[in-house]
Symmetry: D2
Subunit: 277 residues, 4 copies
C-alpha cells in the first residue's frame, strides 16, 4: 500500500563505488510480514535535484542485508495478517550497484508502467469479493426467517440485493472497458478510466459487504463469515495507491480540459499529482 505519508517516497539511494547506500523509512510494505518474503523492490531517490519524474530509482534489497529492520507489522482494523504489511527502516544499507532495476532515474517510469495493470488486477479481485459478499447475503436471507417469513421476502433486503447486482455489474463493465482501452490505446491514454475504476470498485464492494454484514447480524462482524475481514482489506484500497479524492481530481480535470484548453492551468496548478501521493 502506498503510504499517505510523504516519507515513503523520500528514501535516499546514494551511489558509492560499486554499491548503493540506502537510508529511509517505508511503511505499508505489503507481504513483508511473511517468512517467505526475502527480497524487497525499493523505490527511492537517486537524484533529488533532477526533474520530478527522474528523481526516483528502483533497486533490489535482500531483507537480510545489514541495516534493514522490520520495525513492526501494521494491523488493518484488528487484523494482523501473517502475510501482511510492515514498517521497515533502512539504515546505511549497502547493496551491489547491479541490483538497480533499469537505469538511475527510471523508477517513476517503471512505476507508471505497472500502475495501470496493477490497478485493474486489484479491481478485478475487489469485484470478485463483492460478488462473494452478494452471494453470502443471498444464501443467508433465503435461509433465515424473521417475523414469520424469510428475510429474502423483505423489501429492504431485496433493495440491498438489487442495488448490489446493479452496482457490481456496472463496475465490472467499467473495469473491462478500462482494460480494453489499456490494450488498445495504452496505459497513459486510459489514465482517467483507470482512475475511475480505482474509485468505483472498492466503494461498490464496501457497500455490498456492509449490507451483507447487516444481513448476517453478529456473524457478520465476527469471524464466522469472511465479511468483516473483506471489509477491512478493501477499506484500505480507498487509501492505497492514491486516495479516492486524488483520483476524482484526475477525472474532473480531464473532463474540464475539454472545455477550457487555454485556461486549464488555473485549476490544474496543483502540480504533478503523481509525485505528491
Amino acid at each position: 500500500m502506498a503510504s499517505s505519508d510523504a516519507t515513503n517516497i523520500e528514501c535516499s539511494i546514494r551511489r558509492e563505488g560499486d554499491e548503493y547506500v540506502i537510508n529511509g523509512r517505508k511503511w505499508w510494505i505489503s507481504g513483508a510480514a511473511s517468512h517467505r518474503c526475502k527480497v524487497a523492490i525499493l523505490m527511492g531517490k537517486t537524484n533529488p535535484e533532477a526533474a520530478t519524474h527522474l528523481q526516483q530509482s528502483m533497486i533490489l534489497v535482500p531483507l537480510d542485508t545489514p541495516g534493514v529492520t522490520i520495525e513492526r507489522a501494521l494491523p488493518v482494523f484488528g487484523y494482523q495478517d501473517r502475510e501482511g504489511h510492515c514498517e521497515i527502516t533502512f539504515t546505511d544499507v549497502r547493496v551491489p550497484a547491479s541490483n538497480l532495476l533499469g537505469q538511475e532515474g527510471g523508477g517513476f517510469a517503471i512505476a507508471q508502467a505497472r500502475l495501470g495493470p496493477g490497478r485493474i488486477h486489484h479491481c478485478m479481485r475487489t469485484l470478485g469479493a463483492a460478488e462473494r459478499a452478494l452471494e453470502l447475503m443471498c444464501r443467508r436471507v433465503v435461509d433465515r426467517t424473521a417475523f414469520g417469513k424469510p428475510l429474502a421476502s423483505q423489501g429492504v433486503i431485496q433493495t440491498w440485493i438489487a442495488d448490489g447486482r446493479m452496482e457490481i455489474d456496472q463496475a465490472r463493465l467499467l473495469t473491462l472497458y478500462a482494460a480494453w482501452l489499456m490494450d488498445k490505446v495504452g496505459n497513459k491514454a486510459a489514465r482517467t478510466e483507470i482512475s475511475a475504476i480505482k474509485v468505483v470498485a472498492p466503494n461498490v464492494a464496501l457497500r455490498v459487504i456492509d449490507h451483507a454484514i447487516q444481513a448476517h447480524g453478529g456473524a457478520g462482524v465476527s469471524d464466522d463469515t469472511p465479511l468483516a475481514a473483506m471489509y477491512a482489506g478493501i477499506r484500505t484500497l480507498r487509501l492505497a495507491d492514491g486516495p479516492d479524492e486524488v483520483h476524482r481530481m484526475v477525472i474532473a480535470r480531464r473532463e474540464l480540459r475539454r472545455f477550457a484548453e487555454g485556461d486549464a492551468d488555473t485549476w490544474t496548478s496543483a502540480g504533478d499529482l503523481g509525485s505528491a501521493r
Copy 2:
C-alpha cells in the same frame, strides 16, 4: 407514462357486432396534448375473466371519435408541455372491429414485445441528457469565478464532475450491455438487465442534473438553462412504466432464485408484477 393508478389498465373493450365499445379513463397519455396527435393506441380488457396475460387487447381509436374527451392536460412540476400528457375519458366509444391490433387478448404480448426496446430507447435519451447537463456544468464552472478563483478549481465541484463522469460511463456501458443481450438472447432473457438500466439511468441523470443546477445558481432553477425542465422530465421516469421499487424487486428475485430454486415461491408470491403496475 404508465399510470400508478389501477384504473389505467381497467379500461373495458367490449365486442358488439362489427364494433368494439370502449369505456374507461386513462391518464398520462403522452403526446395527447399535441394538435398533431390524431389516433390513440388504447389498451384495455376484452376479457376480464381470461388468464391475467390474456385479458388485454390493443385497439386504434381516432381521437375525434364521439365519446372521447380530453379532460385535461397534466403538468409535470410546473411545465405544461404543448406536446405533453393528458387525462382522457372514453364513454361508449365505438370503433370498427378491424381497428383491433393483432388478436383479442394479445395486448399484453404486444406490450411486452415493445417494452424492452422502449426502455433502452428511454435510457439512451436519459443518458444523453445527463451528458448535456455535465457539459453545461463544466462550461459554467470554467467560466465563473467565486472567492477569487474559477469554480472549476473547487474540490467539491470537481467531485461532482468526477462522480458524474463515472456514473454516466457505467450507466452507458450497462445500457449497451442490455441492448447487446436483447439482440443476442432476446427481450425476455434480458429482462433483469433492462430493469436495471430502467432504474440506473434516471437516477444517475437526476444526480448529475441536480449538481449542474447547484453550479448554476438561480439560472439553474429558472428557464435560463434547460436544467430544471430536464430534471422535471426525467423525474417522471422513476415512476413511469413501473416505479424504481418494482424493478428492484424484479432484479432481487432473479438473484435470489439462483440460491433457492425450490422455495422461491415464498418470496415471489406477490403475484404477477406486470399486471399490478
Copy 3:
C-alpha cells in the same frame, strides 16, 4: 432569493443633491411579480471604495419610479408564480435622499441583522412543508394497495417514513436550538448554527418530498398534489442566500479554528464570504 450572480450586489446608488440615482440590474426579487408589490427595498453600493462591509446601503424605491423596468418574471421549475420572482433593471432611477434606510454604508449591517431571523423563519416554513409531505405520504400509503396489500406494509416505504420522521425531528431540534442561541448570545455568535440549519432544513425537506412524490406516482409530479410545487420552491433554498457549499465552508472553518488559532489564515484566506455571494 439572493442571486448567485455578482451583478446583483453591484448595483450603484449615487448621491446627487437631495436625491440618490440608482443604476443596476437585480434578479430573483421575490414578490415583485405581484400587483400588490409597490415598493422595493434596494441594496446597492453608495461607496465602492469603502471597506467591504461599509460599501452597501439600503434604500426604498417605489416600483412606479421612472427608470424601473420589470424585465421579466422568473419561473421556478416551470412554475410561474403570480407572486413570484422578477428580474428588474434600474436606469437612472431617482428617489429622495430621505428614502435611505439608516445611514450610508449601513446596508451590510442591516442585512446581517435580519439575516439570522430571516433564515430561521425560512427553516421553520421548510420543515412545516416537510411535515406536510410526510403526512401526505402516510395518508397515501395507508390508503393504497399494490400486490394485494397496502403500500404502508412495504418495508421500503416504511424506511422512507422512518427516515423522514428522524430527519425532520433532528432538523427541528437544531432549528429550535439555533433560535434559542440567537436569543441568548445574539445573531453573530449563533452564526454557524444558523448556517447549519440553512443547509439542513431544505435538504431534509427535499428528501422527504421526493419520497412522497415517489409514493404518489403520477399524482406526485402533476398538480394533483402540492408535492411537485413544494419541491421546486424548496429546491431554490439550497441556492438562495448563499448556496449549501458556502455555508458548509463557514461551519468547517469555525470548527477548524478551534484547532489552529494561529494558522487559520491559510485556509480562511478566501476572504469575506458575505460579499462574495
Copy 4:
C-alpha cells in the same frame, strides 16, 4: 450485544425443587472474556407456554458453576478484546432458586425497563466517539500538507467536517430530547424516540469516523489512531439490540398509526417485535 440468532432467547430455565436448571447457548455475552467477570445475568424461558411477554425470566449464574462453558471469544473486525464478547453454553447448570431476579415470567418486563436508559447511554458514548473522531480529523488536516497547502483548505475535507458537525449536533439534540422525554412521560411513551436515536447515533458516528480514517491515510486503518477500532466497535451497534431495520419499522408504524387507527393491523401484523429479535 443481543444476538441476531434466535437460539439466544431460547435458553431454558426449568424449576427442580429448590433449584433452577439451565440449558442453552448464548453468544455476544459482552464482558465475559474478562477475568474480572464472575457472574452472568441470564435471560431464558421459565414458561414457553405463557403469553409472549411472560415466558422469560432473569437469573444470576456464577460463571464457575458446573455446566457453564465459555466456548470461545468472539472477535469484532479482527479485534479480540480482552474484555470482549463470548459464546457460552449452559448444560444442566444448577443454581439456587433464590438466584431468580424478581418473579418468574418477569424477565421481559425487566429488560424493557432497562432498555431505554441503556440505549441512551450507548448513544451518548457513541456520540462522544464521533466528537473524538471529528477532532482527530480536524487536528490531522490542519497539520498536514498535500499539493502545497494544508488538507484543511480542501473543500472536500471541509465538507466532511461541516457534515460531521451538523450531523453530530442533530444527533445529540435528538438524544437529549429522548432522555428528557423518558424522564417526563416514561420509557414506554418515549419508545419511538429511543428507537430513533438507536438508529441515528451509530450511523452518524460511522460516517464521521470513516471520513476521519480517510483523512488519516494508512494511519487511519492501522492502530496508530483509535479510529479503526472505534469503527469496528460502533459497527456492531447497528446490529446489537435490534438491527436498524427493526427500529425503522417501529418508527414507521407509530407514524402510520396516526393516519389509520382502525386498519393498523394490516401493516403491523408482523407480531411482537420485541420477542422476535
